[in-house]
């Protein structure tokens, strides 16, 4: 058994080395690459912590999509990086920040280590109430039943963030398309990938949603895969980002939270509570919400990566 703590120590050590690298690396592109590697390593940590659902989320969103965003931004900002000289901190200041950050981190570490043992846990309660939804995956139960409000509000966060990103468009480009990716070589490798991968990816994304009823997976993780497939197609120039004024697109972007709200209000009207599910229909209703959610989340994530509209609607 001693090999397992050794493995944990090794993983933690590598995670820390890469984390330090992302902070101290001289140029931003290297730091971003370091961050993507860090995110993947973190997924390992999550598996070791017994949370495969989170590991999937971390790898897909924390590392994959965030990485894609950061790499794109780093490439566009490269020209301006050398001219950045603002708000530099001298050596003394850095040391001071380092000292204070160390104290805060140490306090948190002490707090974490001082937590009571045995730890308080809601796992037994979650297990006892799992029958109410008919789903076998406890995390899906939490997200869709016990704390459905958070999940619904989080969909709203996505919509608001997207409106925020769109609000940064130049006035002339409103209603138009987000930044177009330049057409790749039609014979090139990317176009090949964009033709081969998406069919597989779509199947995989829906599979990840489908199994989430009883196994690790879920709407977010599946949606991220779908979003990634769409982004590959866009980057290869095989498709165009839709115009932000399109009604169908907007419907898709709110379908998840709207279905959630309708089901929630339905629960209220049928005599139950807001966001409660009918006894025998819980599983199909939840899967219906998740299906609406996967479309919404996939579209929102992809458009958040694509950025504000930059071209007007007319070609």
């Amino acid at each position: 058994m001693t090999i397992v703590p050794a493995l944990d120590l090794f993983v933690a050590g590598v995670v820390l080395i890469v984390a330090v690298w992302t902070v101290v690396a001289r140029d931003s592109s290297s730091a971003v690459v370091g961050f993507v590697a860090y995110g993947l390593l973190l997924a390992l940590v999550w598996v070791r912590l017994g949370a495969p659902d989170v590991a999937l989320t971390e790898a897909a969103i924390g590392s994959g999509l965030t990485g894609a965003l950061l790499i794109g931004a780093a490439a566009r900002l490269r020209a301006g990086e050398s001219s950045t000289s603002a708000e530099h901190l001298g050596g003394v200041g850095r040391t001071l920040v380092a000292a204070l950050a160390t104290i805060v981190a140490a306090a948190i570490a002490v707090a974490l280590l001082s937590l009571p043992d045995p730890a308080p846990s809601l796992a037994p309660e979650a297990a006892a109430n799992a029958g109410a939804t008919g789903l076998g995956n406890p995390i899906t139960n939490v997200l869709m039943a016990f704390r459905a409000m958070d999940t619904m509000l989080e969909k709203f966060v996505l919509v608001i963030a997207l409106v925020g990103v769109w609000s940064l468009a130049p006035d002339g480009a409103w209603g138009g398309r987000p930044r177009s990716y330049h057409r790749a070589d039609p014979e090139g490798a990317l176009v090949f990938l964009a033709r081969v991968l998406p069919p597989l990816g779509v199947v995989l994304g829906i599979y990840v949603l489908w199994v989430s009823a009883d196994h690790p997976g879920g709407a977010f993780q599946g949606a991220t895969i779908l979003a990634a497939m769409w982004l590959v197609v866009l980057m290869a120039g095989l498709g165009d980002v839709p115009e932000v004024g399109r009604q169908q697109l907007r419907l898709m972007l709110v379908a998840g939270p709207v279905v959630f709200l309708i089901v929630g209000l339905g629960g209220l009207l049928l005599g139950g509570a807001f966001l409660s599910y009918p006894q025998d229909w819980a599983k199909p209703v939840i899967l219906a919400i998740e299906f609406a959610m996967i479309l919404t989340v996939a579209a929102t994530l992809a458009l958040l990566v694509a950025g504000p509209p930059e071209r007007s609607a007319e070609p």
């Binding site: 809601l122 966060v157 409106v163 925020g164 609000s167 807001f274």
Partner: protein, 602 residues
């Protein structure tokens, strides 16, 4: 809101009102998003009265429950599920928020209208959805009984607020928005770190359940200090205010009103929840005195720097800084050293009342400033003369809002001041009484400075300047509805002191304007006098060119020079504190000092 019954059972059908109060703005935002075009504004405007009615209904129900309206979402009781709770504090904040949002909606109708021929325009579309987003986020903040739901609500609030700053797309507002977002994100992550520790210690994030469990353990002390400091960063309490002045001054008027009046109150409200509901017995003399001392610093710094501003919107933004400080004075006054606990009494009521009247008054003032800007084509304080003739309603709203802020009877701020002073006297903390009075005088000082310009004679040289000024080229007409909206809010703020708040706030029944006529007049006169002196000594003004006043000015010479030097010093201090690394250091240092203050209780 104690007792197991209140926690675990929904209060029948009226509890569904709490759900509606969140669902109305959220659903309206989603529908408005799909509808697009001119319909976006109409949907938002239609949601305003509905939301207001829901808020009023909640406020009417809460006193009948004897504690709080509770709703269990999905029928799941905490700790597994999430509960919505409305106590008196939530109820009044819901109503005030709905009123202010409605007034801002009326005001913004003219500014964010889609031109007749156009299908859809960027700024109107985003403004209306973000307005509903801010509203939904705030309602969730006031109602959520779970620390993680509060986190999601805070993020809704932040993500909706930040784009409002840079709706016009100018480079400096983009920068202000970016600084705002980045600093606010630091704050929310610290808050989230605290929630983890609390969950790890007690296995629940429910506010009421936690309040029965918390004891002074290391994890709780660390959590308390991280969460408090994170929220202070989002509230922009000095010295964590680097983002506020440029963001609040740069936004379009309706956006500024929303940000200054309401958005900062969201994180403030969570601080109140945290200190009074989650861990009231955990605070210490050191921690409460420190928090209020930060508030006092904010009053001093914000007011003096406000007096030095050239532009009206920046002046109002710095006044917000000072007023945020005012909100934190109640923490020292509400701490009962004997019981070693935060008490819900006069001080809390005063603080909340201050928050409410500031919300109404500040929104009115920003809206009025926006109208003045539109009418004159600029907002340079030195050249405001003549605004009274062009937009009399807006100037009146500005003056009334200002008087309400100063705390002249019968304003809400006056009652708040009375309550705070009473509690200062009860607890023997005379130094806070001094700070409270000084705050009123300072507010009066910058109000007088502006009003003197607005009502004064038109300055020929300034007018000549103005015609060459590029910003002055775009003068516009201001509709009556905009001025009326601002005026109505200002009047609300002035009338808040007439209400008997005992049904919602922890004050004895019948608490309203209690003092005699003489006292009232004295209370009205002395801040004006003191404010006048402060304005003369510290304000930015040019001595009159001739006449008797000039001799008076000359006689004041040395004092005035000292005042100017002092003002310049404060401006430099403010500029220093608003550098990113300095603010970051302050954030870390405050977290550590709070942790130490909380643990140094025995």
């Amino acid at each position: 809101m104690s007792g197991p019954v209140a926690v675990l059972e929904s209060a029948g059908s009226s509890g569904a009102l709490l759900v509606l109060s969140i669902v109305v703005p959220v659903a309206a935002a989603l529908v408005a998003f799909v509808a697009g075009g001119r319909r976006t504004a109409w949907i938002a405007l239609a949601a305003l009265p509905v939301g207001l009615a829901v808020a009023v209904a909640i406020a009417a129900k809460v006193p009948q429950t004897g504690g709080a309206l509770v709703y269990l979402l999905g029928g799941w009781a905490p700790p597994l599920g999430v509960a919505l709770r409305a106590d008196g504090l939530s109820a009044v904040m819901l109503v005030v928020t709905a009123c202010v949002v409605a007034a801002i909606g009326v005001y913004a109708r003219a500014d964010f209208r889609v031109a007749a021929g156009a299908a859809e325009e960027r700024a109107p579309f985003t403004f209306w959805i973000l307005l509903l987003g801010v509203w939904g986020g705030l309602n969730t903040v006031f109602l959520a009984g779970d620390l993680f739901t509060l986190y999601v609500a805070l993020e809704i609030l932040t993500f909706a607020a930040v784009p409002l700053v840079c709706l016009d797309g100018r480079a400096e507002t983009l920068q202000a928005a970016l600084r705002y977002l980045l600093f606010a994100l630091l704050g929310s992550v610290l808050y989230l770190a605290g929630t983890t520790l609390l969950y790890g210690a007690y296995g629940t994030l429910d506010v009421v359940l936690l309040s029965r469990l918390v004891t002074a353990e290391p994890a709780v002390l660390v959590a308390g200090s991280l969460m408090t400091v994170g929220l202070l960063a989002k509230t922009a309490l000095v010295p964590l205010h680097l983002w506020l002045p440029p963001a609040h001054a740069g936004a379009p008027p309706a956006g500024s009103a929303l940000l200054s009046a309401l958005v900062v109150k969201g994180s403030f409200f969570i601080v109140v929840r945290l200190w009074f509901d989650v861990m009231p017995g955990l605070q210490s003399v050191a921690a409460t005195q420190m928090l209020s001392a930060l508030g006092a610093t904010a009053i001093l710094l914000g007011s003096v720097v406000a007096l030095r501003q050239e532009r009206l919107k920046l002046l109002i933004a710095y006044s917000t800084l000072a007023q945020i400080g005012y909100l934190f004075l109640m923490f020292a006054l509400a701490y009962d050293a004997g019981a070693a606990s935060m008490l819900k009494g006069d001080a809390l009521a005063g603080g909340m009342l201050q928050a409410m009247s500031h919300a109404a008054a500040k929104a009115a003032m920003f809206m009025a400033a926006g109208s003045i800007y539109t009418a004159l084509g600029h907002d340079r304080i030195a050249a405001l003369a003549g605004a009274g003739r062009r937009v009399p309603g807006a100037v009146a709203a500005f003056a009334l809002g200002g008087l309400a802020l100063v705390g002249l009877p019968p304003s809400g701020a006056y009652l708040a001041k009375e309550l705070l002073l009473r509690s200062a006297a009860d607890t023997g903390q005379w130094w806070w009484a001094v700070v409270i009075q000084a705050g009123g005088a300072f507010t009066c000082a910058y109000l007088l400075l502006v009003l003197a310009r607005v009502l004064g004679p038109v300055n020929r040289t300034a007018t000549a300047d103005e015609t060459t000024d590029e910003t002055a080229t775009k003068r516009g007409r201001v509709g009556w509805s905009q001025q009326a909206a601002a005026l109505a809010l200002a009047a609300c703020s002035l009338a808040l002191g007439l209400v008997d708040w005992s049904a919602w706030l922890p004050v004895p029944p019948g608490t309203r304007l209690s003092s005699s006529l003489v006292d009232t007049i004295a209370a009205a006169v002395w801040p004006v006098l003191a404010g006048g002196v402060l304005a003369v000594l510290l304000g930015r003004w040019t001595p009159p060119p001739r006449g008797r006043l000039q001799q008076a000015a000359a006689a004041l010479g040395p004092l005035r020079r000292a005042g100017v030097a002092l003002g310049a010093g404060f401006c430099r201090a403010d500029a220093f504190l608003r550098q990113w690394p300095v603010a970051g250091l302050s954030l870390l240092a405050l977290a550590i000092v709070f942790g130490a203050a909380l643990s140094a209780r025995y």
